[in-house]
């Protein structure tokens, strides 16, 4: 990373605190021509305050651990360039919304993954290793529906963007429901009906208001709103007596 000849500084506000509360601390960070939000956070931790807590691993948009709220919007910080999101010379970085805070920028992902399990987002094999492999036709409509959601990196950006989650803590959220929809359409998953039952409870897919924030913010450009609509359609027709 090279310093720009006529580089300016960034005025960065970073939320510092824990589950009991906190406030923004302000840092001045040198601006580079090619710099991600995660670079900025790391610079602060390395040069200003070594106690700043945040989470990252792969730095290439695969692991889903570095999501934060940047200037009011949930982002994967390792793939978010500062010059795409900066307002003037100001950057505000906070932990993900809709999740408890552990410390500073690290959100507690437990509720996110608990809902993932509650939506039956856990693969249950339909066969053992001794059975012949299930034939998968990549072009079948059902398989294509499953394939659309499998690139989810569990970053919780959609969960943080979702105002239904914010208003209704019981709501399972877009990521867990998209995972459920993937499994409903996966011929290698044992029991699609048990997944459909799990997402038909209070707080399931029917709580979704189709705001579309999940789809608007998904960094992997997936479409959780479409997946939730698929669950609604399938559970509605199931309710009306059409068996899968």
């Amino acid at each position: 990373m090279s310093v720009d000849e006529n580089s300016k500084n960034l005025e960065v506000s970073v939320w510092r605190g824990d589950a009991s509360g906190g406030e923004y601390s302000h840092y001045t960070v040198p601006s580079y021509s090619n710099q991600t939000v995660l670079d900025v956070v790391s610079w602060i931790q390395q040069h200003c305050d070594a106690t700043l807590t945040y989470r990252f691993a792969c730095r290439v948009g695969m692991c889903g651990s570095c999501a934060m709220t940047v200037n009011g919007e949930p982002r994967w910080t390792c793939r978010t360039h500062v010059n795409k999101v900066i307002k003037g010379d100001k950057l505000t970085v906070a932990p993900l919304r809709n999740l408890p805070v552990i410390k500073d920028l690290a959100a507690d992902m437990d509720p996110f993954f608990e809902k993932w399990v509650k939506a039956k987002g856990v693969h249950e094999p339909s066969a053992s290793r001794h059975d012949p492999m299930v034939a998968v036709d990549p072009q079948s409509p059902q398989r294509m529906a499953a394939s659309e959601g499998i690139e989810c990196i569990n970053c919780a950006v959609c969960y943080s963007a979702c105002d239904t989650v914010a208003a209704n803590p019981d709501y399972l959220g877009p990521a867990a429901l998209q995972r459920a929809w993937t499994l409903v359409n996966d011929e290698k998953n044992k029991d699609a009906n048990s997944v459909l039952d799990a997402v038909s409870q209070t707080g399931g897919c029917h709580s979704c208001h189709s705001h579309g924030s999940c789809t608007a913010y998904c960094p992997a450009e997936l479409n959780p709103m479409k997946a939730v609509a698929g669950l609604k359609r399938t559970t509605a027709f199931k309710f009306l007596g059409k068996r899968r």
């Binding site: 239904t164 208003a167 209704n168 019981d170 038909s200 409870q201 209070t202 399931g204 029917h206 709580s207 609604k232 559970t235 509605a236 309710f239 009306l240």
Partner: protein, 110 residues
């Protein structure tokens, strides 16, 4: 706030109402020409089984739809859950149904 049964009640009442609302808007646009009078309204609706069924069904569907819709909003905005939320939605349903039924009787059967 919503499970699949309430969701289905909400969506089915909506689908029942869709043609009724279109009919209602069409009648409104037709009837307001030259102003409204009680005699004109009653002349159209009184003693008519068709309008009784039309508006009777409309009132029933809107009572279900509004009760579930307001239930979700009360749950999201005021954090109501469980029994208070159920009592609230039942109260909305009964209020809408009684007031609506009285209005339908007034303009079709009086």
């Amino acid at each position: 706030m919503l499970d699949v049964r309430l969701y289905m009640a909400q969506r089915i009442s909506a689908l029942v109402m869709a043609p009724l609302v279109i009919g209602h808007i069409a009648v409104m646009i037709y009837a307001v020409q030259g102003g409204l009078t009680t005699a004109e309204i009653l002349g159209r609706t009184q003693g008519s089984l068709l309008w009784f069924v039309f508006y009777g069904l409309f009132v029933l569907a809107v009572s279900v739809h509004a009760a579930i819709g307001l239930r979700v909003i009360a749950g999201e905005w005021f954090g109501w859950r469980g029994l208070p939320l159920t009592l609230f939605s039942c109260a909305v349903f009964i209020l809408m149904l009684l007031l609506g039924a009285r209005a339908v009787m007034a303009v079709t059967f009086s």
